[in-house]
Amino acid sequence: MPDNETLERELTQPKPVKQNFISTGSEWTFELLEQYDREFARLADKFRLDTYPNQIEVISSEQMIDAYASVGMPLMYNHWSFGKQFLSNQQSYQRGQMGLAYEIVINSNPCIAYLMEENTMPMQALVIAHASYGHNSFFKGNYLFRQWTDADSIIDYLLFAKNYIAQCEEKHGMDAVEEVLDACHALMNQGVNRYERPRPISPEQEKQLAKEREEYIQRNLNDLWRTIPVKETEQQAKEFRFPQHPEENILYFIEKNAPLLETWQREIIRIVRKVAQYFYPQRQTQVMNEGWATFWHYHLMHEMYNEGLITEGFIMEFLHSHSNVVFQPAFDDQRYSGINPYALGFAIFQDIRRMCEHPTEEDRYWFPDLAGSDWLDAVHFAMRNFKDESFILQYLSPKVMRDLRLFCINDDDREAYLEVSAIHDETGYRNLRESLAAQYNLGNREPNIQVYSADVRGDRSLTLRHYMHQGRPVEDNSALEIIKHLRRLWGFDVRMESVDQQDKVINHYELPSEELYPEEEGV
């Protein structure tokens, strides 16, 4: 990594500062954790890192596997898939195939971060810097999180959800609840609003409103599904469309409109939808969020070193971990599994600082606003106002592209070959940057699937539409599985059509008829 060279240069320079080590051994104690945290807090303040209060919890590795299994949330409801995750992590951990990622941090107020008891003091310090000051300030500062997540109430909401689902299990049986949850999990990615901002709500209100919703929804449903005695003209029937416009939030549509669901089932759908929405900003800011946290653990730790608070051994151990984190294997390496978000994010933030402090001619041409400006202002601005896609489009510089030796492959199934469409040269920079940015656009990553119509006056069937992007189909097997799930929620036939840019139907996805009514036939 290019950054290690600069690191080593820094390290070999003589340090005039008086040495005043916080600790010298590798053992950690609670007193030491507090001392390190106090220093980090002081430095974070100096760098204008605005954070929620921190709650740092020391846990065992088994607890870490636990925490891992339920998407990091300490109060997640119970579900078999979390058990599967747990068993899988436990097995790889015990066999040494997987080191536990050393940090889980929760976007809540206070911001909860976990430290594993097995870690050495330098590792604990790294995690505190990374999670409690890096991620924490990102959660509080980035516009997507500000807009979409409510750090004050998430823990309470999860508690409400966990209790509600447990009660449902008692009342309606585990299998019935599992069936709804399975279906919801399959549709989680289609359970978020991308463009509307939901009204923040407190958990107490949540509980109250849950009751009111019960009655309201059923009343409304009755209206929607009322058999209509008046005979319509062809024209009227044609004009009536439900929903009037395609609905991108499938779970929302089901929750509000599925004719046969019971109230508790609607509430469970709502819970999964809320959780999905809460995680949505994280999925859109992976590169930025990890890059930001990594950037800050790197700087906070160096600052500590420069002030003579930590020893040479300490910072060497830290640097070792750090370079593992930002390691980017090349495309032909066995270990390669795509671009490492830590590496990319860190490289871009580092580069922003470099361009501010030591701009080159190239930087002045590509980033005239950054060159020579205040680096702290610049990185904070970047952190606050972008998501991965726009962040890359805005800040990925030729230097970073060269350092990572990026190239772009064009894969078109109409051609027999793959083609290198851009490399890191003068003609390729813009192309590369746009391609990489597009790669982080969730809209490109995931198929765009929306509720197209519900036949409320006919057979009550539901039609989804997959709006194809660049001719890319959805994967059949999982699509049919999901349609099966969806059918259980909707209660009537469900089908999906893939349409191209001209709204021409290219593909149909429908359950074979023997799978449509298996229960009925069996009885």
Partner: protein, 427 residues
């Protein structure tokens, strides 16, 4: 200001519930995997849990994602030699590294099997779900031979070594309080009167005082005559005999090793015996296994020889049954042991021998055993041994059972058939 909390001591095993949910959901797959795992064990090795593997595709949770095809661009790091416009073959297997929606790496290591551990109890639970030990109940009720003394309250008669001192003294004390009540009440009253008179100068009073003193002495003497302990007070610990079902079992594995028994047949037999052993092991504290192999003559041997020795010859099944009976008489008294016999054979026997077998089983073995099971491992027609045994089965329902195993797939279902819980029988 940050808060630092030590969470190591609480909230452990949070995932237990989710883990159980997972096992519950995939019960059938886990069960299958457990049965496969049985293959790799020696008969007496049931101490540990097991690695279980389930096909990953059965566990997958579907999400909408892109399939192969269409047009997409993918940026990769680490370019060494490519130039813009370079073209090359699409890697084998479609999109390969070019497919760009991140789902490919979803399963981590990319293996097809999902492997995890279950412990020994779980392992056995899956294996023996719904199975019951034939005649276990009957043994406990009928052939009771061992008793254990158990305390059961107190009696007023018994031998001196069972005397309960505390209880006896308590009874004596109670008796004395009950019997002396009126006297002591009188003494108290007299004493009170006496105290009043002692301060009075009156002569008549002095006389009365003398009387009272005398009366008190009398009463005290009477109290003293109350026996400190009476026969009536004695309490003895009461013991009752509680029947103690024997916790020992012996399993006889009787196998034909004549020339016709192929390696595969022996393999099937081994799995059958293994299941039986693990099954018995769950129900008894102590279990022994006797291996008897036979061709024209029978021999007791160890597990390894049982399955792998090559010595062979003609077939005389009765030789093995006779040996079984001898060993039974020698070492395993039916009053102490629960006896199970499992016989495996390919059904081949010397013509005249089968009726002898029937006689031996009905007269010598069945009266002593809990359960006799016979499996014929073959896909041929049944021979005379089968027909003779059929008659035994008719005469001894629930006590003698037989089944035919045609191949590996039959082992577990047949085992279940032989040992499944029979509602009617226990009712």
């Amino acid at each position: 200001m940050s808060i630092i909390i030590d969470r190591r001591l609480n909230a452990k095993k949070k995932s237990t519930v989710n883990r159980q949910r997972f096992l519950r959901r995939y019960r059938n797959l886990v069960k299958e995997a457990v049965q496969d795992a049985v293959d790799q064990r020696s008969i007496t090795d049931v101490q540990s849990g097991s690695d279980i593997s389930i096909p990953r595709k059965d566990l997958s949770e579907p999400v909408f994602h892109h399939g192969q095809g269409g047009q997409h661009e993918q940026v990769h790091p680490g370019n060494k030699e490519f130039n813009t416009g370079d073209r090359f073959q699409r890697p084998e297997g479609g999109g390969g590294r070019g497919s760009g929606d991140g789902e490919a790496s979803d399963s981590g290591s990319g293996t097809d099997e999902f492997v995890f551990q279950i412990n020994r109890d779980e392992f056995l639970e899956y294996l023996f779900e719904d199975l019951a030990l034939p005649n276990l109940v009957r043994k406990e009720l009928k052939d009771i031979t061992e008793y254990k003394l158990k305390r059961a309250g107190f009696t007023s008669a018994g031998s001196p070594d069972r005397l309960n001192v505390v209880r006896s003294l308590r009874a004596a004390h109670a008796r004395r309080i009950a019997l002396s009540g009126s006297e002591r009440r009188e003494i108290r009253q007299l004493k009170r009167e006496l105290r009043e008179m002692e301060v009075s100068p009156s002569d008549t009073d002095q006389f009365r005082a003398k009387e009272i003193r005398q009366r008190i002495t009398e009463l005290n003497a009477k109290l003293k005559r109350l026996p400190f302990i009476d026969d009536f007070d004695l309490k003895y610990n009461n013991m009752t005999k509680v029947p103690q079902p024997s916790s020992k079992a012996v399993m006889f594995c009787v196998m034909d090793v004549s020339g016709s028994m192929t390696r595969e047949i022996k393999d099937i037999a081994k799995r059958f015996f293994l299941l039986l052993y693990m099954f018995l092991e769950r129900n008894y504290e102590k279990i022994e296994v006797v291996f008897i192999r036979h061709h024209s003559e029978a021999r007791e041997c160890n597990e390894h020889d049982f399955f792998y020795a090559r010595e062979t010859g003609g077939t005389v099944v009765s030789s093995a049954l006779r040996l079984t009976d001898e060993i039974l008489q020698d070492r395993y008294s039916p009053s102490e042991w629960n006896i199970y016999i499992a016989q495996a054979s390919d059904g081949d026997n010397w013509e005249a021998d089968s009726s002898k077998c029937r006689k031996l089983i009905e007269e010598k073995l069945l009266p002593k055993t809990q359960y006799y099971s016979y499996v014929e491992i073959t896909d041929r027609h049944h021979q005379n041994l089968w027909h003779e045994y059929k008659m035994i089965e008719k005469e001894n329902p629930g006590h003698f059972a037989m089944q035919q195993i045609r191949g590996h797939g039959d082992i577990y279902p047949i085992f279940r058939k032989l040992f499944e819980k029979k509602e009617a029988e226990n009712a």
